[in-house]
Amino acid sequence: MTEPARLMAKDVSVSFGRTSVLNGMLTSVPDGQLTVIVGPNASGKSTLLRSLARLQPVGKGQIILDGKSIHRQNSRSVARRLAILPQMPTAPDGLKVRDLVMRGRTPHQSALRQWSKADAEAVETALEQTGMAHNADLTLEVLSGGQRQRAWIAMALAQDTDILLLDEPTTYLDLPHQIELLRLVRSLNRDTGRTVAMVLHDINLAARFADHIIALKDGRVFRAGPPAEVITEANMDTVFNLPCSVIADPIHGSPHVIPA
């Protein structure tokens, strides 16, 4: 069921107090693809993504990055290969977009070597890719929700990693901004070959943008595979308890869920 990949969860269990959130989770994030994790509320989507990025300590099992347990590896070395944008990140007041993006270079720097030519280039590239170059000197507070999310993504991009994880990057964005952001994420995946995995709430957007979908139910992987295989009427009924029809999107051909 799980193909070998650079980033994998092996029998991972996580519980908060007595509530078990992940239950022997076994899954992998396919290299070079755009993966979307879906599932009902409390199915463990965010916990899985956070565990994969070593932000969440795991009880049992292991997260494997490049063949070794992620928790046994130096955090800085992990940060040069894997970037994650957590849900609703916070920054101190008065921070400018460029300063934020520059922080993304942290794993490539040290207290004595705080800036290099490679740092400057990576920051400019990240600002360009996210379309934030002309906003680089604004403080985060004055940005709109969509722009702020782009600034944070630019920070994660400046980290210059092969793997990029995004925890619900479209929360609080209106539909046009959601589409714009997902297009950006897909172009990052297509243009640079980055492995991307994210949590999304909207099944139809997930079906349209993902190469690979991981559907969770009760802290386990219920189905994983290409959208057409995972997003079916039967699966939606089981995972979300949602009677529905699934048709092919007339424009993009991806599966489209229409709740009954």
Partner: protein, 336 residues
């Protein structure tokens, strides 16, 4: 702005550099004024002459034996407190989380007091042990699935009050004369400082300032959020431990020469942040503001004739309104 020295490349904001120069100028002016003013006013030439050893014996004694040690101790202690305050406030992402609010300073004073009662000396060691124990106790009591700043602050305020009461209790073990002396010390006093105090605080600063500046690198990242700092590859626990121990050492050092000057650690960081902007921890600016506040408070204390008022009275007069204002701002923003 990038500062390069062979393999070293440091990132500095132009504003931070400008603020640094401005504060240094102010501090130099305050220093000169502090030497000149007093019960025996002096001209700037008299001051220079006495430092060069060319003035009469009285002027020399006043400058070299009385005013300079007191002033240099004030600057050193203020700088140490200001830097320590900014470190904790940045690390815990809350201006209320300064060592004098959350009990670490009270712990250090208790430790110093206990050391004085038991051994008659060992003030620095006592302050260090007291400060670290208070920090460990507060952290332990506030810990529940990680460390939430507001819980740490409330626990710290409780511990702070308890330790202050503990210090009062310890005082009853002393004879009246020593107790009166200690009471003054507990308010934070710079009366009758010696060159020994000056040497202690400045040697300590010489060692700890580079460490603090080095820790500014993880500190900047910790200012964002635990998740973001981890994502960027900062190992949280070692970084926090190093920052806390360094900051507590600075507090202990300051306390052992000047007593727990209230609110100096607390006001310096927020003022520095507002001057420097850009969300930087600005440790050097905070240190200079701490020095300036302490020096000005001590000058105010000296300016009142006949009574020997401790400088701590005046740092409290400056600090208390700032505390109220920050509480109000945070309450309105809903971040308390």
């Amino acid at each position: 702005m990038i500062l390069r020295l062979s393999v070293l490349s440091l990132l500095l904001s132009k504003r931070a550099v400008a603020v640094g120069f401005g504060l240094s100028g102010l501090l130099a002016l305050a220093l000169l004024a502090a030497i000149m003013l007093g019960a025996y006013p002096m001209s700037s030439t008299q001051v220079l002459d006495s430092i060069r050893g060319q003035a009469d014996a009285v002027a020399r004694m006043i400058v070299i034996e009385h005013r300079l040690p007191r002033i240099l101790t004030a600057i050193g202690a203020g700088a140490a407190l200001g830097m320590a305050g900014a470190m904790f406030q940045t690390m815990l992402r809350n201006p209320l989380a300064s060592p004098d609010v959350i009990g670490f300073t009270a712990g250090a004073s208790c430790g110093a007091l206990l050391a004085m009662i038991l051994t008659g000396g060992m003030v620095l060691a006592g302050a260090l042990v007291g400060g670290l124990s208070a920090a460990a106790l507060v952290t332990l009591l506030a810990w529940k699935d990680g460390l939430h700043p507001y819980r740490l602050i409330l626990t710290g305020i409780g511990i702070s009050l308890t330790l202050t009461a503990g210090a009062d209790l310890l005082m009853t073990k002393l004879d009246a004369l020593t107790a009166a002396e200690m009471a003054k010390w507990l308010v934070g006093s710079l009366n009758t400082r010696s060159w020994g105090d000056v040497t202690l605080i400045w040697l300590g600063l010489l060692v700890l300032t580079p460490v603090a500046l080095w820790l500014q690198f993880p500190l900047r990242r910790l200012a964002m959020a635990d998740d973001v700092a981890t994502a960027l590859g900062i190992a949280l626990t070692p970084a926090r431990l190093a920052i806390a121990v360094t900051a507590i050492a600075l507090v202990a050092l300051a306390i052992s020469v000047s007593g727990p000057l209230p609110f100096v650690a607390f006001v310096s960081g927020p003022i520095a942040r507002r001057l420097v902007k850009g969300g930087a921890p600005a440790l050097l600016s905070a240190a200079m503001i701490g020095a300036l506040v302490t020096l000005l408070a001590d000058m105010a204390a000296r300016s009142i004739p006949m009574v020997q008022l401790p400088a701590g009275v005046f740092t409290a007069i400056i600090g208390a309104p700032v505390l109220m204002w920050l509480l109000l701002v945070q309450f309105r923003k809903g971040t308390l």
